[in-house]
Symmetry: C2
Subunit: 201 residues, 2 copies
DNA sequence: CAGGCTACTGACCGGCGGTCAACAAACCGT
DNA sequence: ACGGTTTGTTGACCGCCGGTCAGTAGCCTG
């Protein structure tokens, strides 16, 4: 009986708001706990408009993840100036710090990764390159070394989930556990570790 | 224009056939890759009848898993006569043997576990009791030891998935990797292992 | 061959992800 | 002040999903 039926926004602005909303909603609910209709209602728009900006729910979800993933990638990127061992330590510590800052998002991400094929592939890809990086860093090539590193990445996620579920460890302890376990796994895989000189203050 | 419109079966017989079919279908397709309508069609019955025997898709899925899970539990049950260390070794080896025999089922199970809440809870429960068992066996009580063991269970699944994906290791190698990594993780967690006497022939 | 027990079915429900033609808010030149 | 154009936006619709229910019909008993 009065003003306009809806407010018209510029393309970029609407997109920006939807991404922001999605980042929020998807850290509070896992992928299939929330429907596109609910999201649209929350955004105060029609479902059709949501689909106008993002071709599918998966695409919307992935786009929503993108900025966070970019930040994570930046923080975790190993310093090429450091020797491999310290670069790895620094990268893991950065990873742990990110998880500490974004624990809900981390939990929901792992949960959703199993469900959404596209995310699954992204995570798998990251893991694969990480495995290669580590194997290259220690000069190991045997199948059992590959299995050890791949298993260790799972160890990492399991330990992190336990960590943020209980919050009764500090980051340093988790870091030590992860590094020590990686060493143990590689030893069990029969890998000869290149000795780093004088690095235990 | 002729015979009966459908064949009537006895309650138990129908149930048996549906469970058998489900065990087959769910090892070839993950939980939400297949719909109840498809399953019913495959079984040659109406969807309503399927729901007459199982109150929900989740229940059907869990029931389908039950027999396999029972067999796994039986095979993995540790021998109480053995000292803890050897009992653990035997249990892990049995677990690996089961995976070797049922690799598709194992893969689909892990995939579905993330999706189906009820299965997720079952798997979580099994993991929790396993963690307690191991912690009790080594007499460890610290949070970091708990995190180490919990993470190691993830390591186990990750390593097994890699193993059956590549099939370039034999079971003994995987067993050695798992045991060695558990030792490494516990060491990294600062656990003093009770020494077993003379057990490396 | 009548009658009952119950294994079975067809039709229906709300909600999902996804699509489409049509509408209207804002900006434009006049 | 106003008609035309652009394009951000909408309501109605689709097929499929998990799940429900009143009613049908195969089989066994007498």
């Amino acid at each position: 009986m009065s003003g306009p039926a809806y407010t018209r926004l510029e393309n970029d602005e609407r997109r920006r708001r939807l991404l922001e909303l999605g980042a929020d909603l998807f850290t509070r609910n896992a992928y299939d706990e929330i429907s596109m209709a609910q999201i649209a209602r929350e955004a105060g728009i029609s479902k059709a408009l949501l689909y106008h900006y993002f071709p599918s729910k998966q695409d919307y979800f992935v786009a929503t993840l993108a900025s966070g993933a970019e930040e994570l990638r930046r923080r975790v990127e190993p310093d090429p100036e450091l020797p491999p061992a310290e670069a790895l330590t620094a990268a893991i510590d950065a990873y742990l710090a990110w998880i500490e800052d974004n624990s809900e998002a981390y939990e929901k991400l792992l949960q959703s990764a199993a469900t959404v094929p596209e995310v699954r592939e992204i995570v798998e890809g990251v893991r694969a390159t990480t495995v290669d990086r580590i194997l290259a860093g220690i000069g190991a090539t045997t199948p059992v070394a590959r299995t050890a590193v791949r298993g260790w990445l799972w160890f990492m996620d399991g330990a992190c989930l336990d960590w943020i579920a209980h919050r009764d460890l500090d980051r340093g302890q988790v870091l030590g556990l992860l590094l020590g376990t990686l060493g143990g796994a590689l030893m069990a895989a029969g890998v000869q570790l290149p000795v780093t000189e004088g690095s235990d203050p």
